[in-house]
């Protein structure tokens, strides 16, 4: 939320063709840039690992994440005194295996991240392309909408809406998505304006292409890399938003294992059982930093001249 304003110009520049005087083919250049970008590789590796964990959660989790056991409540992790190999990362206040709950938590975060970032994408890109392409009063109107949306306190509104509508995973996806489209709008609007003034668009218009055809065949393909970059950032933002909502009790509800909710549940015992709070936070951090590193990397790869911005 707070870094919407970052490097917008660099993202807007991404995807617009540039001159390259070297003899390498575009594909070779692309591959070189990927391999040479440590941040991107680390981010991509983190995301890939977490996605694989989410997909294979039933195979990886040593226990049922919902199975309660009163006799083994709040066991410590294996490395502290009293820990056992049965419960590698200990158990929570209901005696549920913490590792299994953390593993299943990837599913909640990834689903909500992907879902909400997609909802935001649909709204933001549609508005951005329309504003950038048609300009004039349409543009003024949409820019006004943007100003109004930026003024709304997002977290507060999301909390209130989830509470009133009733919390479920789909409600959280919809609301987080509906409140996170401004970054897409700002970038696609600027990029569309720039692409629109290029010769190949004029050529398409001269050969009789309709606005719809120009948008879909000339503009959209050139926006793709910018959109992917923003999607990656929004993934992290949406995941943080969900965890905040769940932490405050107006997001994912018990007994579903959401990392934000697990932190809230562990809060009561955090002074003598700190791992209950520390571990889900580390998971969130790794997932979000993975998305951000990947986004930074993709932006650099798409437009290396923006690297220092």
């Amino acid at each position: 939320m707070t870094h919407t304003d970052l490097s917008l110009s660099a993202v807007a520049d991404a995807g617009i063709e540039e001159d390259n005087t070297s003899t390498l083919s575009p594909r070779q250049i692309f591959r070189q840039r990927i391999v040479g970008h440590t941040g991107f590789l680390i981010g991509a590796l983190l995301i890939l690992t977490i996605v694989l964990i989410a997909i294979f959660a039933p195979l990886l989790a040593p226990h049922d994440p919902y199975a309660q056991s009163l006799s083994s409540r709040m066991l410590p992790p294996v490395w502290s005194e009293g820990g056992s190999w049965d419960y590698l990362l200990g158990t929570d206040q209901n005696g549920r295996d913490y590792l299994s709950r953390l593993i299943y938590g990837t599913r909640v975060s990834i689903t909500i991240g992907l879902g909400a970032a997609t909802v935001g994408l649909l709204i933001g890109v549609t508005l951005g392309v329309i504003a950038g392409y048609f300009g004039g009063w349409v543009d003024h109107g949409i820019s006004f909408l943007l100003t109004a949306q930026l003024a709304l306190p997002g977290l507060l509104l999301a909390m209130a809406l989830v509470f009133i509508i009733g919390p479920s995973i789909w409600v959280v996806i919809g609301i987080v998505g509906v409140l996170h489209w401004t970054y897409y709008l700002v970038v696609t609007r600027a990029a569309t304006q720039r692409i629109r003034s290029q010769d190949f668009v004029a050529a398409a218009a001269a050969s009789g292409a309709s606005s719809r055809q120009i948008i879909w065949h000339e503009i959209m393909p050139n926006l793709l890399s910018s959109i992917i970059v923003i999607f990656t950032f929004e993934l992290g933002i949406a995941i943080l938003a969900e965890s905040s909502l769940s932490f405050l009790g107006v997001g994912i509800q018990p007994p579903t294992p959401s990392w934000g909710l697990m932190i809230a549940e562990g809060k009561q015992a955090m002074f003598y059982r700190p791992w209950l709070v520390v571990l889900p936070g580390i998971c969130l951090f790794l997932l979000v930093i993975g998305a951000n590193l990947m986004g930074d990397g993709l932006r650099d790869i798409a437009s290396p001249e923006g690297r220092n911005e």
Partner: protein
Amino acid sequence: MLRYIALRGLLALLVAFTVSLAAFLLLNVAADPAQAIAGEDATPEVIEAIRARYGLDRPLSVRYFDWLGGVLRGDFGESYYWHKPVAELVADRADETITLALSALSVTIIIAIPLGALAALNPNSWIDRVALGVAVSAQAVPNFWLGLIMIILFGVMMPIFPVSGDDTWKHFVLPAFVLGASSVPAVMRLTRTGLIEVMGADYVRTARSKGFRGWPLLRRHAMRNALLPVISVLAVQLGQKFGGSVITESIFAINGLGRLALESILGADIPTVQMLIFVFAIVFVVMNLIADILNAALDPRIRIG
């Protein structure tokens, strides 16, 4: 300049009106507020009674203009939960949140601007890399988690600062750090980018050729122009601190507007929620307006162009 300010002011008013309408519609149309007040297991009779009692049976437009008319007279309705005028509730608790937001912004400035300047003066050095690392990490840390970690660290291991309540200035140190940290990445990156850009400009080269180096060069020539965009971002960040106070205040038990927001949401207290959304949005709009005016005052290109 006056014309510019008047235009910006008009736009701000329009935004405030739109935001109030949007918040009202979202809270009243997305779901049935009477149902939310009554709870899930309420019978239709109970819901009907609540609807009649709070006037929720009137048409939407009547309710909105009734609310708006009240707002213009300073009357935001009565809280369903505390049974007091909402404006009174908010006025009682505003102090804490203003203190928190301002001290959080100071934390952001103290950390982000020197770090950004150090990075800009030594681009691609280890300092630059550390600064970038701090920014990337700070962006990925969930704010509420950072708060809890601070409580674990300072509550048990190093009890220097109190971790709960709002009685003394010491109570605000940790919450201000947590809330301020969330703005560090944006402000730091912007300081760095702005400074690097300015350091390459002709007039800085001229100053350098006249023998200016290091801090004097930065202070007398580069900082002023580089900080123009930073000032407007700081104003916007200050506006966002109010919205961000929800999490920080509930973690550190500060009795301000953010905590009031959480309590009123969980108590389905719609008039209070509506006023808080409105107040936070107005703070943001006013901060933006101030940023615009400051920028126009400092940079003649904006007010003429």
